[in-house]
């Protein structure tokens, strides 16, 4: 999966499941300050990513470090690279 494909997949899945506006979804936006997510949404975000990429996320510490949309893209890219 190319970097662009990862970005598109992440953004589309999150936009759909969190009812976000795709146009606002640039890599530097903060999930919490800009997109209005909060700590309650962490589990839901994990569930969306697991569904979109068909993997299990067990890296709790890494997930807690995620702040921006770009962090998610990087997290997914790293995970896919580790799996292949």
């Amino acid at each position: 999966m190319t970097e662009q494909e990862i970005i598109t997949t992440v953004n589309t899945a999150l936009a759909e499941e969190f009812e976000l506006d795709l146009d606002e979804m640039t890599p530097d936006v903060s999930l919490y300050e800009d997109l209005g997510l909060d700590s309650l949404d962490t589990v839901d975000m994990v569930i969306v990513l697991e569904g979109a990429f068909n993997f299990k996320i067990r890296e709790e510490a890494d997930v807690k470090e995620i702040r921006t949309l770009g962090d998610i893209h990087a997290f997914v890219a790293k995970k896919l690279a580790a799996e292949s």
């Binding site: 009812e19 309650l40 569930i47 067990r58």
Partner: protein, 499 residues
């Protein structure tokens, strides 16, 4: 009417939430669909006989243990007499294929010794099972009195394995595998789906002590009712919630009852089936992913419950219980045929009204997991109006259950009088889970646990769906929820006085 908090569902969890919040000075209301709070514990009257239903025995009720502290904190112990079950063989499993008996005892050493007596070559597996289960228990909030919620890992469940996978790792002996999975009956999720952590939390306390309550579930139900009255909690029994009100900023403002009455509150605790939220709230209150999570929740197993009575106590059910099962099925036990799957037998409270007042007889109860799908042809029918075909099917099931009891526990069969059956449809109509679940929605390995808080500010979840099923799970769930509202440390400090 205006309250600090409205609690939906007057089961054990809802009633516990109400008592804890009142203790901290909140003005609380409880909405319950049935005519009494804790309806499952309350039992029912049929042909002038009161049958006890919901509570048979529990771990964690010993002095200073978790349920003992909860009970004393909530005032439930007043007028309540606890009695220990037999230390040796509080649970006995009759293996139908061999007629061998396997015993569970309590006290950590006795627990191991009893199983070792039946499986002399399996010491390593038995020791490791107990060690693992107890170390999980001792790491969990409330089960370990030093720990409260808030420190637990978000991903704990997802990193877990199933009970089935765990016992398969421990031993090749299918009969021992079945024995170690038998207590899935206490939470209603089969071994291939239940996370080991959850199973351990439910069964672990039974390694240390096992108590019953004189007067059974009915006594516990009366204690809850008395404590709620003393705490000035307003009860809206026989009422259903039809809608929740939410302001434009997604803050909860109250609930509407079927009578049209509105209860105003800035905090609402939902301690019934979590899926009902989708009926009561506008779509936009939750994100699509959360709505999907609620929709995907599955129920715990339903059951056939046989109620009967006897003129005198049955020795094999005196301060102990009996499980009948075909142990060679291993962990497949719960998907087995009607003739092979686990059947739990216990004595139960029973009261007969006579001309001279109330006469005590002995109740006998038999519980067996049953697939709700067998009853789908009649799911449009309600209690008291079932068609002939259903009654025939039920009669057949009753006959099959009695036949098993006759074969594997003849002394129980001989004593058993006037047995009648409750089916998954009965359970559905009384407990209000659409598929007749015994323990609410299921905690499954593949799913992330629900959180207390929701996106609707002021709306919280509680109940068996939250922490774990059963009496202990429902009460821990309630403390978890109240801790989220009031501060976990604050609740824990108050509870510490009852150690």
């Amino acid at each position: 009417m205006k309250y600090d908090a409205v609690i939906i569902g007057g089961g054990i969890s809802g009633a516990t939430c109400a008592l804890v919040l009142s203790h901290f000075g909140c003005r609380v209301a409880v909405v319950e669909r049935e005519a009494h709070v804790t309806p499952l514990l309350h039992g029912f009257v049929r042909h002038g006989v009161h049958h006890d239903t919901g509570f048979h025995y529990a771990g964690g009720l010993g002095p200073g243990e978790i349920l003992d502290r909860f009970f004393r904190f909530l005032g439930l112990n007043q007028g309540m007499e606890l009695y220990p079950l037999r230390a040796q063989g509080f649970d006995r499993i009759v293996d139908q294929s061999t007629s061998d008996v396997v015993e569970f005892s309590y006290g950590e050493q006795s627990w191991r010794d009893s199983l070792l007596a039946a499986f002399p070559r399996e010491a390593a597996a038995i020791n490791r099972f107990q060690q693992t289960v107890l170390s999980i228990c001792d790491s969990l909030p409330y089960l370990n009195k030093e720990k409260t919620f808030g420190e637990d890992a978000l991903f704990a469940n997802s990193q877990d394995i199933s009970l089935q996978a765990f016992v398969a790792e421990l031993t090749q002996d299918r009969r021992l595998q079945a024995v170690l999975c038998m207590h899935c009956l206490l939470h209603g999720t089969p071994p291939d789906q239940i996370p080991l952590r959850l199973h351990a939390a439910v069964v672990g306390p039974y390694c240390r002590s096992v108590y019953g309550i004189r007067g059974g579930g009915r006594q516990l139900s009366q204690s809850f009712a008395a404590s709620l009255q003393q705490a000035n909690v307003d009860l809206y029994c026989g009422s259903r919630v039809t809608a929740m009100s939410v302001d434009p900023d997604n803050n909860i403002t109250g609930v509407t009852l079927s009578s049209g009455q509105e209860l105003v509150a800035a905090q609402v605790i939902h301690a019934a089936d979590p899926r009902l939220l989708l009926d009561w709230l506008d779509e936009k209150c939750f994100r699509p992913v959360y709505r999907r999570r609620l929709t995907a929740l599955q129920e715990t197993q339903s059951a056939l419950i046989l109620f009967g009575q006897s003129a005198r106590p049955v020795e094999s059910l005196a301060d102990r219980n009996l499980y009948l099962a075909d142990l060679h099925l291993g962990t497949e036990l719960f998907s087995a045929s009607m003739a092979q799957r686990p059947l739990y037998l216990s004595s139960a409270g029973l009261e007969l009204s006579t001309d001279d007042g109330v006469a005590q007889r002995c109740g006998i109860i038999g519980i067996m997991p049953e697939d709700y799908r067998c009853y789908e042809p009649w799911q449009a029918t309600r209690r008291g109006q079932r068609p002939e075909e259903y009654l025939r099917f039920k009669h057949e099931r009753r006959g099959q259950m009695l036949e098993r009891i006759e074969q594997a526990a003849p002394e129980v069969a001989q004593a058993l009088q006037q047995p009648f059956l409750a089916t998954p449809l009965t359970l559905r109509d009384y407990l209000h889970y659409p598929q007749g679940a015994m323990y609410g929605v299921s905690h499954q390995l593949a799913r992330y646990p629900l959180q207390v808080a929701t996106r609707v500010r002021g709306l919280y979840l509680s109940g068996q769906a939250l922490a774990a099923p059963g009496l202990m799970g429902a009460m821990i769930g309630a403390f978890y929820t109240c801790g989220t509202l009031l501060g976990h440390q604050r609740v824990a400090e108050e509870l510490r006085q009852w150690q």
